[in-house]
């Protein structure tokens, strides 16, 4: 079989076909070279990241000491940036599970190159999202009241409340995606163990829990992995549905809609795929894995963005149509308010970034294969998706049933504290991601090898693949 090793320049346009010519050994060498000792660039990036995180932490500490007044809430807008950012990060998480579990069950072979990054993104994004309900509540030190535990006062949480469902959904999601991530890592950490020396070898040796790749291990592993994927698939749909019910179970115009669950799930995958592009495009370049994460892979992600983005665009249309068709003055008022009211900038940003720009560009193949453009649009989409949640939360609350509360006098404006915590949340996510990309195999060796044609002594006419 043809072997390509590192050192030879990659072909100009990498495709699934150029990738299938890689040997097992080339995959090991290419991926494991990324986890050598970090260079100066990494340390500088990491320090900048920690500095930004520190700003967010200081802002939160200030909020803890002075109270929620610093958070810019203006009645009736009592859910704002924190909840927006919570939904944003939960949404980001979703495409990771889509790529790792749903596409696994559908046998989409291109997923293997990017799924590890996507899954790490899922775990870290849920860890980021999980902070926001705690930041948002007035007394985070009693947040454990949300959990069902036998207490002295015999008080139990209300299991009919979507907020309690949310606690269960998000914590289950975090646990299961972390399990899925860790189990997937075991064979790759074993490969890293076998290729390293010194303290790294000892560390990976412990983390690999004695994996040897024997037939007994693979046999049970493959089964277990499939069951975990089968659990994660409905779970990912349920989690964002439950998050959407935090809103849809309320009667606020703009929230109380049955379309919310599928609408939120599509939006989540839309933003998540964009985030995978944002992370993968620089990483593949820096670590020289263009032959494993090829242009075809990026295009596949762009197609997923286009598909889910079209569902999102359709959902927006349905929302407006329902508001008009319902004949309900409050519902109609809400949607006129979105386009023409005090916060119209938010709604138009959302429509521009999520509908107009992607729909006018991603349908064209040359643009889907243009890497700088994909990087740019992935950021545009994520700005748009943050604003989508902002529109749903702030604008709906800002224009409900009481005309007295409408209008500029009570307008909510994001406060410096909220802004610092929002930016800090990106640094929190970035901190974990930078550590991950430097210390763990961030492309799955095992799964990439699985889609390559196996080494055969006697080549069949079909080329050995299946």
């Amino acid at each position: 079989m043809a072997t390509t090793t590192i050192g030879t320049p990659p072909p100009k346009t990498t495709t699934f076909e150029t990738m299938s010519r890689l040997s097992y050994r080339a995959v090991n060498e290419t991926v494991l070279q990324a986890i050598k000792a970090p260079g100066r660039g990494w340390y500088i990036l990491f320090l900048i990241d920690l500095a930004i995180l520190a700003v967010g932490v200081i802002a939160f500490a200030n909020q803890l000491m002075t109270g929620l007044g610093v958070a810019g809430y203006a009645p009736p807008v009592m859910w704002a940036t924190y909840i927006t950012t919570f939904v944003f990060w939960v949404g980001i998480a979703h495409s990771g599970t889509l790529i790792s579990a749903i596409l696994y069950l559908f046998r989409a072979r291109w997923r293997t190159s990017v799924y590890r990054v996507a899954e790490a993104m899922t775990v870290f994004a849920v860890m980021t999202a999980g902070l926001f309900p705690l930041i948002h509540v007035g007394r985070p030190w009693v947040a454990y009241w949300l959990l069902p535990y036998p207490s002295q006062g015999h008080v139990w949480p209300n299991f009919k409340s979507p907020l309690v469902w949310d606690v269960f959904a998000v914590s289950t999601y975090f646990t299961v995606s972390a399990i899925f991530f860790v189990i997937g890592l075991i064979p790759d950490i074993a490969a890293a163990r076998d290729a390293s020396t010194g303290w790294r070898r000892r560390l990976y040796g412990i983390l690999a829990i004695g994996w040897r790749g024997s037939n007994r291990e693979w046999h049970h592993y493959s089964r277990a992995y499939m069951f975990l994927a089968a659990f994660a698939t409905p779970l990912v749909l349920s989690v964002h549905s439950v998050v959407s019910w935090d809103f849809a179970m309320g009667i606020v115009p703009g929230w109380h809609a049955t379309i919310f669950a599928p609408y939120f799930v599509a939006g989540a995958i839309f933003s998540g795929c964009a985030m995978v592009l944002t992370l993968v495009i620089p990483a593949r370049r820096i670590f020289g894995v263009e032959e494993i994460i090829t242009v075809d892979h990026l295009e596949a992600l762009a197609k997923l963005c286009l598909f889910t983005g079209t569902i999102v665009a359709f959902s927006y249309a349905v929302e407006f149509f329902t508001a008009w068709y319902s004949g309900n003055p409050f519902e109609r008022g809400q949607f006129w308010f979105r386009l023409t009211g005090d916060y119209a900038v938010g709604a138009w940003t959302m429509l521009t970034c999520n509908v107009f720009i992607p729909q006018l560009t991603l349908w064209f193949k040359p643009l889907r294969r243009n890497i700088p453009f994909l990087f740019l649009i992935s950021i545009v989409i994520n700005i748009g998706m943050w604003f989508e949640r902002y529109v749903i939360i702030v604008l709906s609350l800002g224009h409900d049933f009481v005309p007295f509360a409408f209008g500029s006098r009570t307008q909510y404006v994001i406060s410096p504290t909220e802004l610092a915590i929002l930016v800090g949340s990106f640094a929190w996510f970035g901190m974990f991601f930078l550590l991950f990309i430097k210390f763990l195999p961030w492309v799955s060796l095992t799964e990439v090898k699985e889609v390559l044609p196996p080494p055969m002594k006697e080549r069949t006419a079909a080329g050995g693949g299946h």
Binding site: P157, G213, N215, F227, S238
Partner: protein, 167 residues
């Protein structure tokens, strides 16, 4: 633990499956096959029994669903909170909860099942493991008594193992 037998290291998948089939035909049943990836060709040659991991999964899932319904129902009765005259214990909202707990318990049980059936974590390595098995080599270890080692060696070499070791 001391193991007696022969290890063949293969660069090719088809040679490995040939070796496995011939070894099994010759009566060597205690085989350990090492590979960098799970391949269905190896499974077909080894014909293992269905993995029992699925039993752990279903047990965990059912237990989780019952726990979810049970916890929510118990809590509603222990701390009655009547809203709008609706029933205290109601299955529809509790299904959301039961689903999440079923997934949680089911996944944890699957991992437990994997660890038990695959005998992980493993603290000691056999001497037969080679670091190349996580890279691009496949290995077949035949556990056998010293008097049969020569026969196993011959099959491995004939099938195309460039390197055969006695352990």
């Amino acid at each position: 633990m001391a193991q007696q037998g022969v290890l063949g290291i293969f660069p090719y998948l088809d040679a490995t499956t040939t070796a496995i089939r011939q070894l099994r035909k010759a009566g060597f049943t205690d085989l350990t096959v090492y590979s960098p990836v799970p391949r269905h060709e190896l499974e077909e040659a080894l014909e293992p029994r269905e993995s029992p991991v699925r039993l752990y999964t279903i047990a965990g899932g059912v237990l989780g669903a019952l726990t979810g319904y049970g916890l929510a129902s118990y809590a509603s009765i222990a701390y009655p909170l009547v809203v709008g005259g609706k029933p205290l214990v109601h299955m529809i909202p509790y299904t959301v909860l039961a689903f999440e707990v079923a997934v949680l318990f089911g996944s944890l049980a699957t991992v437990l099942g994997l660890f038990i059936t695959a005998r992980l974590p493993r603290l000691a390595f056999e001497t037969t493991y080679d670091p190349a098995f996580s890279n691009d080599r496949l290995g077949v270890f035949v556990r056998c008594s010293p008097d049969r080692a020569a026969a196993a060696r011959e099959i491995l070499e004939k099938a195309g193992a460039p390197e055969v070791r006695h352990a």
